[in-house]
Amino acid sequence: MDSSKKSNIRTISEINQKIKSGDVQVVTAEEMKKLVESSGVEVAYKQVDVVTTGTFGAMCSSGAIINIGHSDPPIKIQRAWINDVEVSHPGAAVDLYIGATMMSETQPYEYGGGHVIEDLIAGKEVEVRATAYGTDCYPRTKLDTTITKDDLNQFFLLNFRNCYQRYVCATNSRDEVIYTYMGKLLPKFRNATYSGAGCLNPLMNDPNYETIGIGTRIFLGGAQGYVIGEGTQHDPSNRFGTLMVRGDCKQMSPEFIGGGAFTKYGTSLYVGMGIPIPLLNIGLAKKTALRDDEILTDIVDYGVPRRSRPKLGKVSYATLKSGEVTINDRKIKVSSLSSLKKAKKISEKLKSWIENGTFFLSAPAESLPTDSVCNVMRQSKEIAFVSSVFHEAVTCRVDEEIKAVAQRIISKSVNHVIVTDKLGEIKGIVTSWDLTRAIAEGKSRLADVITKRVFTTRPEETLEEASRKMAQHHISALPVLDHEKKVVGLITSEDISKLRGR
């Protein structure tokens, strides 16, 4: 027996010694839960040195920095595109940052920066175009060439926000399908989506970042990478921690990193990441035993396009992984947007690397903050909402005479009349144009003239969103409904342009 087994703590260098000698004991986070359940935390702590975690999901705040080398004559790139995806040029002459969410100018939404990174990693040839203003030392103004990863001096994944500790479960209250970064959400809560690996998630297994910090060696995209700090929007007090990471793309594999396309939302990068948690003390053994039913997240209505979206309840990752959640007393199917299969595979792969002695643990040079807060934007110009503009609506019932409605249009001098039922719920809309057409076509029943499928808005929607809806559907007004779907008013394109003209 060596001395470390007798004492109550382990050190990273002791574990690395065991990796070298082939004596290290590694389990995946999933195996750890089972071991603790069957043998208890003390036995598990004695037996296990390292717990491996994994996650594979769309991580939009990702990208790669590349250096393409100097051309002859040299160019100081001002704007550049790879496979028609604009890439940014943040540095001196020939360094480019490929942002995962930048979209192709010829195939928007289908191909983007994430796909460029994937194609380069897969060894494919990509087309680089660039323009410049030309200087005495960098005279060239245009560039057009094809390259592969072998032609790049550096090709590093440099992701500024990855690996959310957990994420929300999304659903949609609206009457229409919406396409979001949480996927396709059917109308009236007919489906839900979630993201994250739950009990396999790296940060969930070390929630106080006792072992994860700057310099922690990790599995990244199929190769060894590093944590280089906390990610942007890192919010540890709400258990929404994030990481900033770096890895050598030239060593990565398309099996564990690749582009993603979200219809009507944009492109992204699926990133595979795994972090080894060294069990330095028994507390960490307890933490890595955390089960899916103990990790809760909010069910959020993405039908409301505001920063604070309404929360509809809480749900555990165990329920989410079962494929069914209950919303408003109804059971609906819930989809995972990240891959649980790949997350598991990553935790197993990392385990085998450590067991084979090809992956050693590193002690962080600095810990991640555990008390920082994530603030909202300071908006120096107030933005306007429907609630500040809409006015009372003129209404009618579906069984009224066309003439009576026409008279109301004249006496109230409006163009739109909303058709409601006894309870104040919307049944349709009729415009002065509809009535003109009714006369021209000899129609006498109001029911034959009204538009029954009506696009609506809510007081808390922004004016921008309301005018986008009107433009999209080629209409000039939207009835305003409250949360009980009762008509509370009307907003017209005229109201909006008056406000803009002020």
């Binding site: 609906i332 819930v334 989809s335 891959s339």
Partner: protein, 137 residues
């Protein structure tokens, strides 16, 4: 149950062929989807597996083109096994296996009248198989 796709032409689309076959053979069929107009059309039917041969023969004898359709194609190399498609499927043709693999039951999928999963796939691994109605000989 097996699925067969019945293709009607402009010449025979007005004949009550499906009913005739059902009456003649006395075998029930379930119509899964139907896209028919005066120029012809496709009807996807589900029939008892033991009677498939008999039914196919009867339709062919009446001039109907019969196919065993592949309605959807999933590129397993592209698929991330996320399951973004799973909750959208109205006929429960998509499920998770024990190891979280995402699997398609091609026999349950109803194909092109639906297609809800296609644009929800972030890996763009799902394609509806066009039945090439306009290219037939």
């Amino acid at each position: 149950m097996d699925r067969i796709l019945l293709r009607f032409s402009e010449e025979n689309v007005e004949e009550p062929i499906t009913s005739q076959v059902i009456l003649e053979l006395g075998i029930p069929m379930r119509i899964v989807t139907a896209t028919v107009n005066s120029l012809g059309g496709d009807i996807l039917v589900e029939v008892p597996a033991v009677h498939v041969e008999k039914i196919v023969k009867a339709f062919k004898a009446k001039g109907v083109i019969v196919k065993f359709p592949k309605l959807i194609e999933v590129d397993c190399d592209k698929c991330y096994d996320c399951g973004a498609c799973y909750a959208l499927c109205p006929v429960d043709a998509i499920s998770y296996e024990e190891d979280y693999s995402v699997v398609f039951d091609e026999k349950t999928c109803i194909g092109s009248p639906c297609g809800l999963c296609v644009d929800a796939c972030p890996a763009r691994a799902i394609k509806l198989v066009e039945q090439n109605r306009n290219n037939r000989k």
